[in-house]
């Protein structure tokens, strides 16, 4: 496989920072964009900028077709039973907030419970806390073990009583551990509890089949999976989307509007109030094409080798403590969060930055996890198939140099 051919499709990879080649290891925050996605976005902005679904003129029709083609593509990508279960949002956060609000309005009452896990991103904690505050409900939290796996026994025990919905992450953005979401959905459904899966990281690395997973909702962002920023998806089972009240009122989400009362459109329109991200959403089509080509074939084996090299190098270094230790290699995405004894994560990130390496440092929007592992922050490197073995080797060498400078 010619990795350079892949890299050529991502213009930002040829950028220099401080005169050095950029090593982009902050992919869990956002992925770089391939030319195909940039071109689609440009085309939608340059040639077919028109508002969708309303006007009868030519460009509006093209724009609408492109937007709706993206819905079909996402539906196939997720193996969703119907295109009406695909709601476009601005990102994972918006998708989760939509469910926390709308589902909450319809089904959560005083004294009810909402179940989350300790591995959640703030975006899958705070909307539920806000819901609980609004409704007088109670947030229950299932813990993770020392290796970063969700404690299924404690999760099971919490499933019951007055839990009305559970929200679990497919893959933690800190630990990189792939959670057994299918099993967790089964456990919840046995207790009659619907499940939202936060797929912000999962969608990028795991094959997602929402029918097989049987989740009630699956939320993810476009920008982490090569699509334009400001795009996101909420997949929802029809029965819920139909019963849930709208999240926002406005244009497009209505059937008829009278001052005496308004009726709402059917899903997904009911949840797509206002002008949508008309230039961004069509980029899902080339983005999914890119993702499917990169997550299969030759690049899979190459990525695994890079991943293994990083895992081995980091865990062999006695100064380094890695969080999220997989029991099987397939349980982990190429993401490594770690702390270095006696060295502050931010100092490391600053030095690595000057060496041209983009990493993430801090609490990574997961303060409860930082508390769980007794640290004030971590350093995180996260890779995509366009990252190379050379970059990984340069990173390990640079990290060693930075640690020596700081100790």
């Amino acid at each position: 496989m010619d990795i350079q051919k892949i890299r050529n499709q991502f213009p930002e990879l040829s950028e220099k920072v401080y005169g050095k080649s950029l090593v982009y290891f902050d992919n869990a925050a956002t992925s770089l964009k391939p030319v195909s996605v940039i071109d689609k976005w440009l085309k939608m902005s340059e040639k077919y900028n028109a508002n969708i679904h309303r006007a009868v003129h030519y460009t509006a029709t093209v724009a609408t077709d492109e937007f709706e083609a993206a819905r079909d593509r996402v539906k196939d990508f997720l193996n969703a039973p119907s295109r009406d279960g695909i709601v476009f949002t601005s990102g994972t956060t918006a998708s989760i907030n939509l469910v926390a609000y709308s589902f909450g309005e319809a089904f959560i009452h005083e004294g009810d419970e909402v179940l989350v896990t300790e591995a959640e991103h703030h975006s899958d904690i705070v909307p539920w806390q806000m819901l609980c505050e609004r409704k007088g409900a109670v947030l229950k939290v299932a813990g993770v073990d020392d290796d970063g796996y969700i404690d299924l026994e404690s999760f099971k025990k919490l499933c019951g009583g007055r839990v009305r919905i559970a929200a679990v992450t497919h893959v933690s953005n800190v630990l990189g551990i792939v959670n057994p979401v299918k099993e967790m959905v089964r456990i919840c459904h046995e207790a009659g509890i619907p499940v939202l899966v936060d797929g912000a990281q999962g969608i990028v690395h795991e094959k997602v089949d929402v029918q097989e997973m049987d989740c009630d909702f699956y939320a993810f962002s476009g920008h982490k999976m090569y699509a334009a920023a400001g795009t996101g998806v909420l997949y929802g089972k029809k029965k819920w989307l139909e019963l849930m009240p709208p999240y926002m009122g406005g244009g497009e989400m209505i059937e008829t509007v009278r001052f005496s009362g308004t009726t709402y459109a059917k899903p997904p329109g009911k949840f797509e109030a206002g002008t949508q991200n008309i230039s961004g959403v069509p980029t899902f089509v080339p983005a999914i094409e890119m993702l499917e080509s990169l997550n299969g074939g030759d690049s899979l084996a190459y990525g695994e080798a890079v991943n293994e090299y990083l895992a081995d190098s980091l865990s062999a270094d006695e100064r380094i403590r890695v969080f999220g230790v997989p029991r099987r290699t397939e349980d982990k995405i190429p993401l490594f969060s770690f702390a270095v004894d006696g060295v502050h994560h931010e100092d490391l990130a600053l030095l690595l930055d000057k060496m041209g390496i983009a990493v993430r440092s801090g609490q990574m929007c997961a303060e409860p996890l930082m508390d769980r592992f007794g640290v004030t922050g971590m350093l995180r490197v996260s890779l995509l198939p366009y990252n190379t073995m050379e970059e990984a080797e340069y990173f390990i060498k640079s990290l060693d140099k930075a640690i020596l400078m700081l100790s």
């Binding site: 401080y18 060295v343 502050h344 931010e346 100092d347 990130a349 600053l350 030095l351 930055d353 000057k354 060496m355 440092s361 801090g362 004030t376 922050g377 400078m405 700081l406």
Partner: protein
């Protein structure tokens, strides 16, 4: 101290101008950080914590013979280096001297544009603490 506020600033600007590479400047900041005067553990309290930094920064001060003496600490070493610079320039000065300063030497060293925004915020928070202590003591 011996030197004036202006002399202390000039010395730092000169020290930093000796390095072309930013990695070397960081090395220098790390050295300054390692040699920062010890800060008492019992003064690492919530009310002395400066908001706006990704790393934690505690700052304390006392007034003695009309001069303000600052002490500070951080859990990150590069931040400790920055603290050390700020202390060498502003500690032991009168409130009026500090309040009259425009803090532009930070820009002349190139610190502001070479630190990430989160770190710059921390730097700005430290500066605004020093400034408000001075203003409250005029």
């Amino acid at each position: 101290m011996g030197s004036t506020l202006q002399e202390a600033k000039d010395r730092l600007i000169e020290d930093f101008s000796m390095f072309d590479e930013w990695l070397d400047k960081y090395e220098y900041l790390i050295d300054l950080g390692k040699n920062l005067q010890p800060y008492p553990e019992e003064k690492k309290t919530e009310d002395r914590l400066i908001k706006g930094c990704q790393s934690r920064v505690w700052m304390d001060w006392r007034l003695e013979d009309g001069r303000i003496y600052f002490t500070a600490d951080s859990d990150a070493i590069i931040t400790r280096g920055i603290i050390s610079m700020l202390i060498s320039v502003y500690s032991g000065r009168t409130a009026a001297e500090i309040a009259a300063d425009d803090f532009s030497f930070i820009d002349r060293i190139g610190l502001r544009e070479n630190l990430s925004p989160t770190r710059t915020n921390g730097l700005l928070s430290m500066i605004s603490t020093i400034r408000s202590v001075a203003q409250n003591n005029i």
